[in-house]
């Protein structure tokens, strides 16, 4: 079988599975069989992705392009698969994480009623298809299709517990925010089409700046960049495996992937890249700040995801595509691990709140260990996965002279290490809460994916060299001052976190000092901002109101009076009889026709 056949298999098996378990209602209603079919589909998809990658970089490097014509009005566009190192690797990452998450879900959602379980796995399979459509897209148009499809599935999965009002609200919010951002994608696509007559990744156009800015707007929505990040924390209303797959590892990274894919376009737009670097760095810092004060373990991870996506976007903004892409893949592994690990903690105590946890490490050594591994990887401790990619990003920022974003990212690195230590300390060590007393380890179906992802979180950093070779970049790990400083900052953050939230519970003065800041961030950074903006608007509004009342209204009243008098006269024309109006139209047509013909 050729590479394309394998890729098509990876693409269409999940679709077939989704259609099968979705449309065969009795099967869907039985739940568990549907779930097993879905997992089997994901495994086939994973194996196919593996076969594609096993084709080797020699076959992938030139890029394998297989398309069929579609929408052949005017200039032809195409759908199909485009395989090169980038998409092949992404395909593997997506299918791997998805398979892990699906297996994990078998255990995590064990107590769901069967119909809901069937629905869940239908969405999961559909998601895999949608994401693969996006990953394998040979042009921006197909990418857009996949983009919208993953948005739809995200909406469906966030609202999985749709009887819960907050979940339904969160789903709608996520949908609207991302759809609003997707308008940018659409405008970008239309502009690109108008300029080049196609939707190619490699298009060359003078309007590249505008097009890429529009695309980046969509990325801001999907990859949760400030200020369009607001949907992501709410999206945690979905089941935890969904958060791991969609809202941490793959779907939110789709924005980053899009930029990686459209690199030739973004290369033509220096302005967009600067915007990206600053927006990304700011998001990284801002979200890290917010993450420090969250009390909900999933919210911590959600803001952390925001922050890490900021890193990737900043790296892409600096022009180092590989750094962003590398961080995307390592992040996919360790963040999925963190979410799934958090999931098993949540599963054990039936609560998202950190205060309901504590001391869980002793009860759940396995889950605790993998969670700590994930946290260390995220904090950038060598030689775990996050260390290499974060190091590369910081270096890239330094290399391109972007010092302000670099500083922001460095602070964010400190905060990252700090809040992860805080989370680990609060959730796993310390005094056990009441809820944590009966906690116990999850079953094998949840442990297995955790083990796989933990291995990857440890080892994925060493895949940098092969991955660079696959995607046609140069990469070799060097120890540099910037990278060293970044690691040191991370270690300081960990130490600080341990000092404050570890057994010593030190730094009371610092805690007290920062308490108002924490409260401010936690309870209403956005609200305060809104209050200030509201005050300004009230003042401006008062002025406008005066003008409106006495100047404009005066005019209006006067003209209104005239219209009223006129209207009373004209009312006689409105007989309310439809045929009278048709008669008027016909009369006009005949009169104008006569004028035109007999003239």
């Amino acid at each position: 079988m050729t590479l394309v056949t394998w890729a098509l298999l990876a693409l269409f098996v999940p679709l077939g599975v989704a259609a099968f378990i979705g449309l065969v209602v009795p099967l869907r209603r039985t739940g568990r069989p549907a779930a097993l079919i879905s997992v089997a589909g994901a495994l086939v998809s994973l194996a196919s992705a593996g076969m594609v990658l096993a084709g080797g970089s020699a076959a992938l490097k030139p890029g394998v392009h297989a398309t069929v014509g579609w929408l052949t009005a005017g200039t032809a566009t195409a759908v199909g698969v485009h395989l090169d190192g980038t998409s092949a690797w992404m395909l593997l990452v997506v299918t791997l994480v998805a398979t892990c998450v699906q297996i994990y879900s078998l255990g995590y959602l064990h107590d769901e009623p069967p119909p809901a379980l069937g629905r869940y796995f239908t969405y999961q399979s559909l998601f895999l298809f949608a994401m693969n459509t996006l990953v394998l897209a040979p042009n921006l148009l197909q990418a857009f299709l996949g983009w919208e499809l993953v948005g739809l599935v995200s909406y469906l999965l966030i609202g999985f517990y749709f009887r819960k009002p907050s979940a339904a609200k969160a789903a709608v919010k996520a949908f609207w925010v991302t759809k609003f951002a997707d308008l940018g994608f659409l405008i970008g696509l239309v502009t690109l089409y108008a300029q080049t007559g196609g939707f190619e990744w490699t298009a060359v156009t003078p309007a590249a700046t505008f097009v890429t800015l529009m695309l980046f707007f969509a990325v801001m929505g999907k990859s949760a960049q400030f200020p369009l990040h607001i949907w992501l924390p709410d999206a945690m209303e979905g089941p935890t495996p969904v958060s791991a797959l969609l809202h941490a590892a793959t779907m939110v990274a789709a924005g980053v992937f899009l930029i990686v894919r459209a690199e030739p376009l973004f290369e033509q737009a220096a302005l967009t890249r600067d915007v990206m670097a600053y927006v990304g760095a700011f998001t990284a810092l801002f979200a890290a700040c917010v993450a420090v004060v969250q009390s909900d373990i999933k919210k911590v991870l959600a803001y952390s995801t925001c922050s890490q996506l900021g890193y990737m976007v900043a790296a892409l903004g600096a022009g180092d595509t590989f750094a962003g892409y590398f961080h995307l893949s390592t992040h996919a592994f360790f963040k999925a691990l963190l979410f799934l690990g958090a999931g098993s903690l949540i599963h054990a105590v039936h609560s998202n709140e950190l205060k309901d946890m504590g001391g869980l490490f002793r009860k759940m050594p396995f889950s605790g260990t993998v969670f700590v591994v994930g946290a260390l990887a995220l904090a950038g401790v060598p030689p775990l996965a996050g260390f290499f990619s974060k190091d590369l990003i910081l270096e890239a920022m330094h290399h391109h002279g972007l010092h302000v974003p670099l500083a922001a990212l460095a602070i964010a690195a400190f905060l990252t290490a700090f809040y992860m230590t805080r989370t680990v300390m609060l959730a796993l060590f310390g005094t056990p809460s009441h809820a944590a007393e009966h906690a116990h380890e999850p079953g094998i179906d949840m442990k297995l994916p955790l083990a796989v992802l933990a291995l990857l979180a440890v080892g994925a950093g060493f895949l940098g060299g092969p991955l660079a070779g696959l995607t046609g970049h140069d990469y070799a790990f060097h120890f540099t001052p910037v990278g060293g400083a970044g690691t040191a900052i991370g270690l300081v953050g960990i130490g600080m976190g341990y000092f404050m939230f570890g057994p010593a519970q030190g730094g009371a003065a610092i805690k007290r000092g920062f308490a108002p800041v924490g409260a401010f961030i936690r309870y209403g950074l956005m609200d305060r901002l809104a209050t200030v903006a509201y005050g300004i608007m009230l003042a401006v509004g008062a002025i406008i109101a005066w003008i409106d009342r006495y100047v404009i209204d005066g005019l209006m009243n006067w003209s209104g009076w005239i219209l009223l008098v006129l209207g009373r006269r004209l009312r006689a024309l409105q007989t309310g009889n439809v045929q009278d109006y048709v008669y008027a139209v016909a009369l006009a047509v005949v009169v104008f026709g006569a004028w035109g013909i007999l003239r």
Partner: protein, 99 residues
């Protein structure tokens, strides 16, 4: 037969439909007349397609056909709503918007 005979017949059909729209009291009767109008236009499109050696005319007949189906569906839904509210479907009595 020449093109002008088709156009004339279609034109006459159109006028018959117009007369129906203006005089029918019953809403369904008006819908019937609207069908005649569209039909007249369709004959013209097909005739010009044949004599102009193009196909676009025929394609557009298909489009207008689909449009008409949509129009009839919505029209009948309105008629039924009207009937539910007023117990009749006489257009000259349905003049609630009278000024």
């Amino acid at each position: 037969m020449g093109l002008e005979s088709y156009v004339l017949i279609a034109g006459f059909l159109f006028c018959v439909g117009l007369y129906g729209i203006l005089t029918r009291r019953n809403a369904i009767g008006v819908l019937v007349s609207v069908e005649l109008l569209v039909n007249a236009a369709n004959i013209n499109l097909a005739a010009f397609a044949h004599f102009g050696r193009g196909l676009d005319g025929q394609v557009f007949v298909l489009f207008t056909t689909a449009l008409t189906v949509a129009e009839v569906v919505v029209g009948l839904a309105l008629v039924i709503l009207l009937f539910r509210r007023r117990k009749d479907i006489l257009l000259d009595l349905a003049n609630g918007l009278k000024g």
